[in-house]
Amino acid sequence: MAGTAGGSPVLASAGAGATRALLLVGVLSGSNRRGGWGDMPDEKNTVVIASAEQFWQVKTRRDFLRVLGIGGTAVLLPSVFAACDDDDPTGNGGGQTATLNLGSEVGILNYAFALEQLEAGFYEAVVASAAYNGMTAEQKEVFTDLRNHEVAHREFFRQVIPSGSRIGNLAFNTTTLNASLANTASILKTAETFEDLGVAAYNGAGKYLTAGNLLLAGKIVSVEARHAAAIRDMREGLGLAGTPAGTRFAGDDVVTTDTGLDVVLQPATVLSKVVASGFVATTVNTSGTLPVKPAGSTAEKAPPSPTP
């Protein structure tokens, strides 16, 4: 499933790589309050938590009980323990690898958390970029909104997933990230990729969730779809024609032309696209097996490859 995008994890590298990593931490400081960049050579930024101890701290136990209270119930229990047996000695909390146990509901929540980290981190970098300063008022408003919304999603998942089974912070491949920030056009292109992928991911994951979490995912996915339409519309405004012209916000490339249904992807496909994007330095592994669902619910419609 996973491979390390862009070579060795950025945060574990030394010399110039470490410098880049520190710059990245500066950009992404909003994501650095909890959890930890477990592999940072700088001790100040190293959070090493034995998972069992952390689990029994009052704060995290309260988090865990709260999640039980919103509908995780018994489904969560095995996964809480299953998530602790991985190759990461800090209890799945480091920056080099993140393991999603797709056989559990909390694993699906972690999957969403990973995608939200990607989106939020990207938009945090966008509003801090040089290109942002040259944007129109409309573009600035949109990217500020998207940053705010995706950060809210990311921090929500950080709170709602029990700390003992929560994945750590994903590290960006700064080479890919910086290239995407070169200008407004490249930023919009990356944003479109992430937003359409987010819509497809939530649409595909809904059936793996129990009631309370399904509703929460539904509250988020329509916001992602609003973002996607806005970004796609802005790109058409910059000369990228929709199919048909004027319809890029919900073009025939993302909505089926016979049934009017939006993009939808299964987790494995989404994760392979995330890896292929080259944005994530963290190795994202999966464990467990998704619950078997009817074949009719697992068909996919992928968003188009980024253009131009």
Binding site: E138, F156, V221, A230
Partner: protein, 309 residues
Amino acid sequence: MKSNESILGSIDPEITERLVSRREAIVKGASTSSMIAAGLAMGSVPVALAALSRQAFAQPPANIKAVLDFALALEIFENEFYKAVLGISSSAAQNTAFATVRPMIPAAVVTAAQQIQRHEEDHVAFLLAAGATNVFSLTADSFNFTGNRSSTTPGPFAAATTDAAFLLAVAQLAEDTGVRAYKGQAENLISDPTVLTAALRIHSVEARHASKIRRARRALTGAPAVVKWSGTISGGGSAAAGITGASAAVTAAAQAVYAGEDLTVQAGINIAALTGVPSAAAASEAFDEPLSRAAVVAIVQPFFKPDIS
């Protein structure tokens, strides 16, 4: 049979699988469906085809079917609204009603509305194929888009037929109500992952529509900032609609459409207090809220002549 092939070809791959084993049923049932006639009466080949293919489905369980029937009524409403606006309704009276405003709509908005209408029509066809029934026997003439049901006195939304900006505001109310309605029904579809997934995919298409409508409104001179370029719902209640100079009746309707959208606490977590979230406005924008079926019915009933409660 060739006709069977074309029917199956018009159905989404997700449900084709359920259809394939029942080709015979299509042949047997095709001649008896009143919905085929209804589809043709609505001027919709996809609707007629879908009605034809519906013969092939086993009836969904009652709880699922109830949601599908409700969704179908909303989609027919949306579809007929856009067809009337665009002048392609099968009802001459509906086309005439929007004759004044039609030439005032910017060309780019017409293009968007055409795409949106196609999607709504596809949703109607899809829901029929998935087992929904047009339980209220809705046709193009079942609607009063001024919001006064069967009365001949123009209702509070009559300005939509003469004012393009207000027409777009009404479209936004309709799309956002649709998004909230589907969200409110998602949990009722958990027992059928195939239908749930399809409903989620319709739900996000409606959200794309709502986003585009907002952007079209924001592009107009004097649009309030609450109509976000990002296409998201900002705040809650009537203020979230961003309609300046609205009548009391329109304000009350908008209040219902956006009631509770300003929620900032999700699963017991205060989103506004989280790291990096700058404001309560941002916290509420980040999460769209559902509406119950009863709340949706209360909002849209004025536009339906038949009682849909």
